[in-house]
Amino acid sequence: MDDDELKPAVELVDITKAFPGVVANDAISFSLRRGEVHILLGENGAGKSTLISILSGMLTPDAGQIIIDGEPAEIRSPRDALDAGIGTVYQHSLLVPTLTVLDNMMLGTNRSFRLDRVHAQKRMHELTQLLDVEIDPDARVGDLALGQRQQAEIIRALWSSERVLVLDEPTSMLTPQGVQSLGRVMRRLAERGLSVVFITHKLNEAIDFGDRITVLRRGRKVGELEPLQMVGKGVDDLKDEIIALMFGASSAGADANPSGNIEKAEWLDQQPVCFRLVDVEIQGDGPKPILDGITLELRRGEVLGIAGIDGNGQKELAEVIAGQRPLLHGQVYLDDKEIQRLSVAKRQDLGIRYVTDDRHGEGTVGQLSIAINSVIKRIGQRPFWRRTRIRHAVINEFARTMIAEQDVRTPNEKVPIATLSGGNMQKIVVGRELAKGPRVVVYNKPTYGLDVKTMQVVLNQIVEQARRGTTAILISTELDELISASDRIAVMYEGRITGILPSRPGIEAQLGELMTGASA
């Protein structure tokens, strides 16, 4: 490594940014070298997104400076950042859902009066090949699966990154293969001299892909690991070190889920079957059914994992159970009662809950307070409403309890939920469904965007709830998490269940085969 490479390409110096009630960035300094992949870590609400939004011009800092190639730079808007060659994938999708993928790509990058679709198409083709993905340029972004949308987002950022590429939790919606290929792309870009900032909550990714790691905690920079500190150490030691930095020394080695599988299996055998799907089928736009003869039986207190590559019918299955989608045929039973014709609200009353993976779209109403969002699925119901009158005191109290229980980082329960960091918002979405007698809960990627500790808390919560008799259906693309939390794991492929395995360590390969339809 010569001197030139060690000189920072971009430097953020003493950046401070406060929002009402919180200092999101407190004199943070952060530097980027040419050709490095720099990992930014920190718990939910640590200030990562805020820091990179300042770099990308979306936020103006209260104090501090940005230095590019040794010269102080004025970044007053995203335009300035893009012109300086800084491309960003934001944590919350920033594509226009009503426009096509190609139109989104041309937005801001097409500088001439006429739109040059031919040119854009060519460039998009290059970039999809670089990323090794396939996206229909004429599809409306709103119609894409979340994983594909994220890929489109990455392509858009690559479009204008000549100096820096910032990725704020880009892997939360990608498949394991997608993550690996993104890792390779980042390396390739770094080799070409780009600096990459990569934010993630997955320590494995951080250690695999990163050259350097910076850790934030509660708005402050609390540590930096140089490449030399990272090599020659065992992965587990490194993880412990990082976790200690992220959460403070006391919580090092946060306990993995103690599942005690054998005892639980015996206990489960004695529990009654309380939830069944029989031959459920729903039709899509195409000739193939989206769900094709799904039959499942769940016992009281069981956690059934659903594995599968994104877009193989998992979301639709969740929506069928929640009541948001009509069936073509088949039955859904709770105990022995047919419920497939009941409305969403009726099913809610019966204890069927759905934790959506779309926390911005269906999950929350951004402009409303945390308190209202915490009861938004129970509008008009007691005790939050009496006759038609809203009872703010009761709702606020309820929200405060939830905030305390879930450890949500927020000044108070009255702020708009959109001001929460992504992970903290997720805590509300999960907490809300667990309140008031859940019987069957469908979790669709419940840990997406959560820091390691919170993720463990949520998984433990699911397992705990199950022990107390709540049946859980856990949809996820993370095999580790499925194996640690589930009793059995069903694999979905093209709308069918291709296999159900008892969950134990070491079945990853088997699951992987089922997921790609190889052994179906």
Binding site: P78, Y90, L94, V96, T98, N104, L107, G366
Partner: protein
């Protein structure tokens, strides 16, 4: 009953229909552009009134209809600057500001008119027409459709141009993004506020021209209330058309004909209540849209002020 079907009756019905439809198209087109960028422009009627008055004064003094239309456009644009300043930059409530602008412009023009022209009530000479060769000779429909003031054809060209503009230009794309996801536009390097400014000013200009068209070509004079709610109809048209610009033309045509139908029926002595006839086209539009308009939409960020740092 033969009267109703007589050629003269039909021709004048059509011709009158077109004359009332054209300002509605100007207004509806302007509103559609503004809405597409995320600004619900309820000041449209005010911009039309301003355009009608300013255009009238300009033509009266210069003798040129085209100059009057242009000045009318500028007047509409000036009124729209209030909307830009208050709503786009100061994030004031679009509905409140829009209504205030309409009331304000109506009042101011009435005042100016009574101060200047209440004694003389000047009228303008009848506007010349542009007869399209051959087509204007078609019996019945020829005169009505193809022998009108050139501004009539201009507005159709503008509608087609706007469609091309939205599909094929950078600014058109930016306007769509500003109305649907302004943060996405900003993140991509665009400027939502500037984009909305362009859209609202365009709407103001078009509404102003439309207002002037009413005064100069339709009525041949200015009196307070000469626009007679054309701006509000324009808003309804844009809302119902939901982004599909040709629907504005179709809707305006329907309403125009029915407006002239009321007059025509009264002329031949059939006394059907005006309200009943005027209601018809709206019912029709709603039915038609119900059938064909399902895949259209209103911009997601319509009526929402934009602030980069808020989330």
């Amino acid at each position: 009953m033969t009267d109703i079907l007589s050629t003269v009756f039909l021709a004048s019905l059509l011709s009158g229909g077109v004359i009332s439809a054209v300002p509605l198209i100007y207004a509806g087109l302007g509103e559609a552009i503004s809405e597409r960028s995320g600004v619900l422009n309820l000041g449209l009627e005010g911009m039309m009134v301003a355009g009608a008055y300013a255009g009238f004064v300009a033509t009266l003094n210069s003798g040129s209809i085209w100059f009057g239309l242009f000045v009318g456009g500028i007047a509409g644009l000036v009124v729209s600057l209030f909307m830009v300043g208050l709503c786009v930059y100061l994030n004031a409530d679009q509905i409140v500001v829009g209504i205030a602008l309409t009331l304000g412009a109506t009042g101011v023009t009435a005042l100016l008119h009574s101060a200047q022209y209440s004694k003389s009530y000047p009228r303008l000479p009848k506007a010349g027409v542009l007869s399209i060769p051959l087509l204007s000779k078609i019996p019945v429909v020829g005169v009505g459709l193809f022998s009108q003031h050139a501004s009539t054809y201009l507005v159709l060209v503008l509608v087609a141009g706007a469609m091309w503009f939205f599909r094929s230009t950078r600014i058109g794309l930016n306007i769509k993004a500003a109305g649907d996801q302004p943060h996405a536009l900003e993140a991509a390097g665009g400027n939502p506020r500037r984009t909305r400014t362009v859209a609202v000013m365009t709407a103001g200009f078009l509404a102003g021209v439309g207002g002037a068209h009413i005064a100069l070509i339709g009525a041949g004079l200015f009196v307070p209330g000469v626009t007679n709610g054309a701006g509000d109809i324009g808003i309804v048209l844009a809302m119902l058309a939901r982004g599909k610009l040709w629907w504005i033309v179709a809707g305006a045509g329907l309403i125009g004909v029915s407006l002239s139908l009321t007059t025509a029926l009264q002329l031949i002595g059939l006394n059907i209540p005006i309200d009943a006839v005027q209601m018809l086209p709206f019912l029709l539009i709603i039915v038609v849209l119900f059938i064909f308009g399902r895949d259209s939409y209103l911009p997601a960020a319509l009526c929402l002020p934009y602030d980069r740092e808020a989330r």
